[in-house]
């Protein structure tokens, strides 16, 4: 069981972190969701379909980890709560999960390509290469199982044609995972582009020229 002060602090943290996702363009609109562990069987999550800017800390519902269909307080929880619950249940060392749609990581998700652990930073922060979870419609068991499998032993995974799922012991750690992933995917895209163009200094125009050529 947790005390009310801890709960209130976590509510504020989840609310502020949702706004932070929007401000850093790590998500667009109401997409993406956050969870924070209250105890071994309860988590606070963001509600479904509402703009983070307009949420209050009290809007965050408390969801049972062992049975995510059970929730209380706050507004109706995110439809992806089963993924958060499954990850928190299988990883006792993890206290925070963030699901979002940052631009570069979504590139990998949309071509369903894993990111090799090509830098020390990736090995250190992610725990190795970053896998892609199987595609599934939002809120489905297929998406949940694919994500849980792909993130096993890592701190992040891509969700096919969807976005990313990142975890951490703290909110700051989970945000750091998200930012490191985004930065390294961008570096990877640059590296792959330059391999195809034969070097030089990367520009977005190079990428677009390759795209036009590939389309004939």
């Amino acid at each position: 069981m947790w005390d009310k002060n801890t709960e209130n602090e976590l509510r504020q943290l989840v609310k502020d972190s949702g706004v932070r996702l929007l401000e850093e363009n790590l998500v667009q609109g109401t997409w993406g969701n956050i969870s924070a562990r209250l105890d071994e069987d309860h988590m606070l999550v963001t509600p479904t379909g509402l703009d983070y800017n307009h949420l209050t800390p009290e809007d965050m519902p408390i969801v049972q980890i062992s049975d995510p269909s059970v929730w209380s307080d706050g507004k109706k929880p995110t439809s992806e709560r089963k993924i958060h619950a499954a990850v928190l249940a299988s990883r006792p060392e993890i206290n925070v999960c963030i699901h979002s749609h940052p631009v570069f990581a979504t590139v990998m998700a949309s071509c369903r390509m894993p990111l090799p652990a090509f830098s020390d930073e990736l090995r250190e922060v992610m725990g190795g290469d970053v896998a892609v979870g199987a595609y599934g419609l939002p809120g489905t068991k297929k998406l949940m199982e694919g994500t849980v499998k792909a993130i096993r032993g890592r701190n992040a995974c891509f969700m096919a044609n969807h976005g990313v799922f990142c975890v951490g012991k703290t909110m700051d750690e989970a945000f750091n995972v998200l930012r490191v992933l985004e930065r390294n995917v961008y570096a990877f895209i640059q590296k792959k582009t330059l391999e195809k163009t034969g070097g030089g200094e990367y520009t977005d125009e190079m990428l677009f020229d390759l795209f036009v050529k590939s389309k004939g």
Binding site: N25, H54, M108, C111, N161
Partner: protein, 211 residues
């Protein structure tokens, strides 16, 4: 209301700043909201990042000309639209220039925009017709036009479209796009419109005001 500014002007300034912050602005951008028989719009010759209160204009729809006539045509064709964005984001621009189609590369695009986004002829009538049953279109050589139940929704369409364009280009070069199938993309779009976004749009509509 801030400093005597009306609600619509405040909204235009707020979202112009947001589009600039998210780096999806270009030359010739114009955003507007419906206000009865009028439209309140940003001046088409002022970049959104430079927009001030003095650059927001009120125009009678029946007298609208040039860029504003395009917005008026869209409001006439699409009764549920309360806001229109005509923007030129960096990744959308080249795709619109070469007349390509952005396919169903990401979930959020299929939900918010639809199962694809085609490039249409740069003509007000064609654009308005295209937007009748959709909320976004690419315009040959002229960026994209989005329409929303709120300005928030129209702006979100621009952001999601630019991200989908970026993903489409980069993932084509990296490997190969794996697209979301027709059935799932259509299903997600319907669920978003009828259910997922409903409450949020109702909240935003009451906040942005009945336009």
């Amino acid at each position: 209301m801030k400093n005597g500014m009306d609600k619509s002007t405040e909204l235009i300034l707020e979202y112009a700043k947001e589009l600039a912050k998210q780096n999806v602005v270009g030359t010739g951008d114009c955003i507007s909201v419906r206000s009865g028989a009028y439209l309140i719009a940003s001046k088409a010759d002022v970049r959104l990042e430079d927009l001030t209160e003095n650059d927001v204009v009120k125009i009678k729809m029946s007298d609208a000309q040039g860029e504003y006539a395009l917005h008026a045509r869209i409001y006439a064709a699409k009764s549920d639209a309360s806001a229109v964005c005509h923007c030129h984001p960096a990744w959308v621009e080249p795709i619109a220039r070469c007349g390509a189609v952005i396919p169903a590369v990401t979930d959020d695009m299929t939900q918010i925009v639809g199962r694809n986004c085609k490039t249409c002829k740069n003509d007000a009538g064609t654009i308005a017709k295209n937007l009748k049953k959709r909320n976004s279109t690419l315009v040959a050589g002229d960026g994209c036009v989005t329409a929303g139940r709120t300005l928030n929704e129209a702006v979100t369409c621009v952001l999601v479209l630019d991200k989908a364009a970026h993903c489409f280009v980069a993932s084509t070069v990296l490997k190969k796009n794996v697209l979301i199938n027709f059935f799932e993309a259509t299903l997600m779009n319907v669920i978003y419109k009828m259910k997922y976004s409903k409450k949020n749009q109702e909240n935003l509509q009451s906040e942005e005001g009945s336009l």
